[in-house]
Symmetry: C2
Subunit: 455 residues, 2 copies
Amino acid sequence: MSKNIPYKTYLEESELPKQWYNVRADMKNKPAPLLNPETHKPMTAKELSVVFCDELVKQEIDDTTPFFDIPEEIIEFYKMYRPSPLVRAYCLEKALDTPAHIYYKFEGNNTSGSHKLNSAIAQAYYAKKQGLKGVTTETGAGQWGTALAMACSYFGLDCRVYMVKCSYEQKPFRREVMRTYGASVTPSPSDTTNVGRKILAEHPNTTGSLGCAISEAVEAAVSTEGYRYVLGSVLSQVLLHQTVIGLESKTAFEKIGEKPDIIIGCAGGGSNLGGLISPFMGEMLRKEANYRIIAVEPASCPSLTRGKYAYDFCDTGMVCPLAKMYTLGSGFIPSANHAGGLRYHGMSSILSQLYEDKYIEAVSVEQTAVFAAAQKFARVEGILPAPESSHAIKVAIDEALKCKETGEAKNIFFGLTGTGYFDMYAYQAFNDGKMSDYIPTDAEIAESLSKLPKV
Amino acid sequence: MSKNIPYKTYLEESELPKQWYNVRADMKNKPAPLLNPETHKPMTAKELSVVFCDELVKQEIDDTTPFFDIPEEIIEFYKMYRPSPLVRAYCLEKALDTPAHIYYKFEGNNTSGSHKLNSAIAQAYYAKKQGLKGVTTETGAGQWGTALAMACSYFGLDCRVYMVKCSYEQKPFRREVMRTYGASVTPSPSDTTNVGRKILAEHPNTTGSLGCAISEAVEAAVSTEGYRYVLGSVLSQVLLHQTVIGLESKTAFEKIGEKPDIIIGCAGGGSNLGGLISPFMGEMLRKEANYRIIAVEPASCPSLTRGKYAYDFCDTGMVCPLAKMYTLGSGFIPSANHAGGLRYHGMSSILSQLYEDKYIEAVSVEQTAVFAAAQKFARVEGILPAPESSHAIKVAIDEALKCKETGEAKNIFFGLTGTGYFDMYAYQAFNDGKMSDYIPTDAEIAESLSKLPKV
């Protein structure tokens, strides 16, 4: 055991990032712009500002400015729960008997239980600064809704969350955390919006989907005076805010005099992966360094590994702009047995372009293997990981075991996005041996992709 | 806002305590010894070693050795989740508009969700070192059982938890966390022990109590080859291990060049309060410093403020040694509407003696006021506190508001023992306005105290 690298490396408050890094500035092939769903022309700032706060619109469309100052008020909030530790997984290494050195950046030490708070506080701040009354959003697994509820409570904004119905019912405690922070939580689809009523009329027994909840939240925002819509992933603004993860990680690695060889992150809409890898990717794009970067997605919702790179709707109700991304089609809904988040049909435009340009690898993993990795990790590293995060754990363990075979002492680094305290239904299914896997058939995916908009 | 004190002060790994501090060594009036329940003579090491591990017996009865080395294996485990941060509550201060400076030591950043892991890992280590197969214990709110499950999993020990039945039913997710760590969890009272069967025969509809679960766990330990019993609070060995909290706090305060004026901790059996205050109390006992120390207990289970200082049974089944402590009587069971832990009928012998000797003040608070304080704290400090911890928050806020009236910039320091992620039933009751208070009548307490053993 290397004695000079601590279990946990914390930065000093003074070492916290003062700017977010915009990886698009260093990309030769820029991510494709959002398109107006009716005209198929790039969305203007004016059009976007109906839905999003003005400052966030600027961040969304700016693909040339490399750094954005983090406002002082947000830095102050970050100081309550950041810096997050860069952890050397000595106990996991020992349990695997691997020569690899495993590191993870742990984002779960805050009440939202995940990295989502990093962007929630930024989006709430800009909404407040613009003088808005409140914001609307959707939440699936619940981390994003919780993070936004916390951020809105801090700035005194009203927060209306549309929660995917099956999560609302399976995770009543997530709902109560949001309510404790003063948010209102509505199961989606609901009868409070046109799109919700339409979906309910067509599918009265639906348990909802992220795409549907997004449609409802957007409709609620644009039809309510003083409200805007906010989103916890996919968008380039979100990836920008989440670069605080990667920037801290990079500084921490410099502090201990190490560099990752492999960087692994779970990928749903891409908020964590994008934030984690951005500063490292910047080095790759500028040809200053090279890393192997692996996106891990669930086999039940495999947008990178089995989707198509095309313009698609971001939501089920087709009210949102079109985004060019790796997608399974906006009508794709993962099997009901899929636990946790990572259930979005598409992927961040930034990550999609980087994947298309071969800067990123992608693998998909099945959920029983993911929970087995989660249990192993929990038992030796002490942290009960979120199902989402456990996708990255699974692949980090796989890579560490490859190192064991080859005898290589690689530095494997992954993002541990959060904790699984509100996912005990899924853990219970695993503990009881009742968890199963589901892989969509080619025909299912083809059927869903056949409905892509013609752009 | 004072700019030179960070939001969070972390110690370096090298600054972690290497020894636990035994406050009894500095006490002029030593805590009374445990008595054999049959002979009423002090329990010998040999008698105690039927129930507890040998090393823990030594720690239990040694009231003169001031420091115990922390074994290297335990320090290594501590490094996975310690040091815990000393947090300056800038946001709470601002929300209260108080000149007071508020600090808290946050012990919730580990999967057990509380400080309990500090002693669990020590007790599991000594059990493993003695070559035992496993340990038994009880858990009420569930933090202790979770902590012990984690510790046993780490050392490869079997872990059998008797969980108070009402918690078992209200907190299925706590149970699943323990199972994820490989522990077996039995609702208490159960038909797996003589004492459990007896209680069930007399009270078939009982929802259980801590005292009853202790009896079952002790019986299971002494009747199973290769097993011992472990306890998460009350005992002097537990307070010894928990001094890691106070020792880290003291070093952190020295690092920022400050000293607390008031130290506040919630008190159930005393594990957190004892650990938090011990090093500071040592200074008081040696007349090197003075602090105002406040124990906060629930009005529904007020052992210090309304109990009697006397020898009593530690458990309902009366199989455990007698301890001299502030007690409400071993038959006392807090009202079913009481949320969270802090429901033990007695109090650590060490703390009882220090309270008797006027080194500690005690106050009791009602739970709706506690949850109101918890909500306020959560909304500004971002951490969703455990109901237990929130007792300390309530009194810290009260003291900060007194400072506002007097204009004093006191340093108020409290122990934030853990998070409330598994207490959302109680939060929901509060959110819905359905939480009520309960204060036992004098007659109820007198009735319970009338059954104290004649020693």
